[in-house]
């Protein structure tokens, strides 16, 4: 923004974020029984996409990367000023969705680790996670296709 601003982590952070979100979306949607039905798993080399345990592991890794980056960003913001983050949601709406994804996702992780959560709560969590994932994807795609009125995307989206 201002001439004083800088972008912590630079391009690397930007790419890591893209990778984390991309893999989370792909492996997340892979949690629904669609990749086999709709031929994706028939493409040579993509047979593993029909293996729920494989896509689940990828989802965990993508989520870990995402959580790590967001925690880093949060902590760094308390220690420095003038950081203009080149990655992450740009609207309160985007942040809300990401927040919902993280909270519901973390609860699902606990459940998977064997912690008892009441079934009705799990259903709420599942639909929150799924709904915000879809909304997040469409918001993100819209933002990619039609960038915000900030003109300087040079070298970032390539």
């Amino acid at each position: 923004m201002s001439a004083m601003s800088y972008s912590p982590g630079g391009r690397v952070a930007h790419w890591f974020y893209g990778i984390a979100v991309g893999f989370a979306l792909f492996s997340g949607f892979g949690q629904m029984p669609i990749f086999k039905r709709y031929y994706l798993a028939d493409i040579p080399g993509l047979g593993w996409t029909a293996n729920y345990y494989a896509t689940s592991d990828i989802h965990y890794l993508a989520a870990a990367l995402l959580l790590g980056m967001l925690a880093w960003r949060l902590a760094l913001d308390t220690r420095t000023t003038g950081a203009a983050w080149s990655w992450g949601p740009r609207t309160w709406w985007g942040w809300t969705l990401l927040g919902l994804l993280m909270i519901s996702g973390a609860a699902k992780v606990l459940r998977n680790a064997g912690v008892f959560l009441p079934p009705p709560l799990i259903m709420v969590l599942d639909f929150t996670h799924l709904g915000s994932a879809m909304a997040f994807m469409f918001t993100g795609l819209a933002a990619l296709v039609k960038p915000k009125p900030k003109p300087n995307l040079r070298g970032l989206v390539s």
Binding site: S5, Y6, S7, G9, G10, R11, H14, G18, Q31, M32, P33, R37, Y39, Y52, S56, D57, Y60, L61, L67, G68, M69, L70, A71, W72, R73, L74, A75, L76, T78, R79, T80, G82, A84, S86, G88, R90, A106, V109, N112, A113, G114, V115, F116, P118, P119, I122, M123, D126, F127, T139, G140, A142, A143, L144, K150, N152, R154, G155, L156, V157
Partner: protein, 372 residues
């Protein structure tokens, strides 16, 4: 083994043990009431089973009518290769798992230490302690009740059969043409409802025993709180091992369900080691006709390549690793990642230089942009 106690066992074992002192060995219905939500577990003494199938009959009588009949004609799935499964015209099939048959008995004849052995093994859902079928269900249709009963909500299930694939025994069975998917986009998403043993949840909620436990003339099954059932299984298995001429400390070889899939709330105890039972089952399946005696089992016409007919709907009894182990391990990574991120941020790792101290070319053009 290292994984003898899964996390959930561990977390709840203490509580259950405490409650167990109060409940002191009583069986249902008192145990259920006293338990107030402790995990229930069954023990099956296979030496006692005479293979009469009274359990199968009573399960069918009680629950078959709760499984609806499909609409006719059934929605044609897109793409056309997606198999539909219709067991509604073959509800009589009782020698394998089907959507209308939650329990069947595997009848085995084999030789062990030079002796002919006849063994009957009632098979149904194992009610895993940390069940992958439920954990991986994307819609919350799979449920684990506080009493440990694993069941599928037929009003929510879309019949994608992910649970069946996730289950190491492929227990849940699909009936197409029933359920809520009919009201959404029946040709494009969903394919029916998955059905399996729900441990007679409606009866257990009333403090009653499951049907198959109640009606068995030989009292093959007992049901109670998990810690007590574990000790009961161990005591029984030690005797079986000794009677089989083995070291009683090898009793684990005579129990199935202790470590399978991370531990199940069904514990089979056998007079011969389960390696022997498993081999006998595999052999029986390899030579068996498909369940129901004819055809490919489910009336799926374009089912594509299926598992060998004799295996379909008939779970093996091999050792099974914990399906959730990888997720349980990755949980550690998920906890550590944000901590590492915080540490990096607070120490200004990767984010040090304030812009004024930087040569201008250090941050090429990265001011704004990126995804939402």
């Amino acid at each position: 083994m290292a994984n003898a106690i899964s996390r959930r066992n561990f977390l709840r074992g203490g509580l259950a043990a405490a409650a167990g002192v109060a409940a002191s060995g009583v069986v249902l219905p008192q145990a259920v009431k006293a338990a107030g939500g402790q995990e229930l577990c069954t023990v099956l003494d296979l030496s006692k089973c005479i293979g009469c199938e009274a359990c199968v009959d009573s399960c069918r009588e009680t629950w078959q009518d709760t499984v609806p009949d499909p609409v006719s004609p059934m929605p044609k799935p897109f793409p056309a290769r997606v198999p539909t499964q219709d067991w509604s015209k073959r509800k009589d099939v009782s020698d394998r798992l089907t959507p209308y048959n939650f329990l069947y008995v595997e009848h085995l004849d084999f030789e062990h230490k030079g002796q002919a052995v006849e063994l009957h093994v009632p098979r149904r859902c194992m009610h895993c302690v940390n069940p992958p079928c439920t954990n991986l269900c994307p819609f919350g249709a799979g449920r684990v009740e506080k009493n440990g009963i694993v069941n599928i909500d037929p009003d929510v299930c879309l019949g994608g059969a992910k649970c069946k694939q996730a289950c190491p025994w492929h227990i849940p069975q699909r009936q197409s043409g029933v359920g809520v998917y009919l009201d959404i986009m029946p040709s494009y998403a969903g394919n029916g409802v998955m059905f399996k043993c729900h441990r007679c949840l409606p009866l257990v909620r009333e403090g009653k025993q499951p049907q198959c436990v109640q009606v068995c003339p030989e009292q093959v099954q007992s049901i109670g709180l998990r810690p007590q059932m574990l000790s009961q299984a161990e005591a029984m298995a030690r005797q079986k091992a000794a009677a089989d001429g083995a070291d009683p400390n090898k009793w684990r070889d005579y129990v199935y369900g202790l470590e399978e899939n991370g531990g199940t709330n069904t514990l089979y105890v056998s007079p011969v080691p389960f390696s022997v039972v498993s081999a006998a089952i595999d052999q029986a399946h390899a030579s068996a006709a498909p369940g129901g005696g004819k055809g490919k089992g489910a009336a799926g016409k374009q089912g594509g390549k299926r598992r060998k007919a004799g295996f379909a709907g008939r779970p093996p009894m091999r050792p099974v690793a914990n399906s959730m182990e990888s997720a349980e391990n990755l949980t550690t990574a998920l906890v550590l990642a944000p901590l590492a991120g915080l540490a990096a941020g607070f120490t200004r790792l990767f984010g040090k230089k304030p812009p004024s101290e930087q040569p201008p070319q250090e941050q090429p053009s990265s001011e704004q942009g990126g995804q939402s």
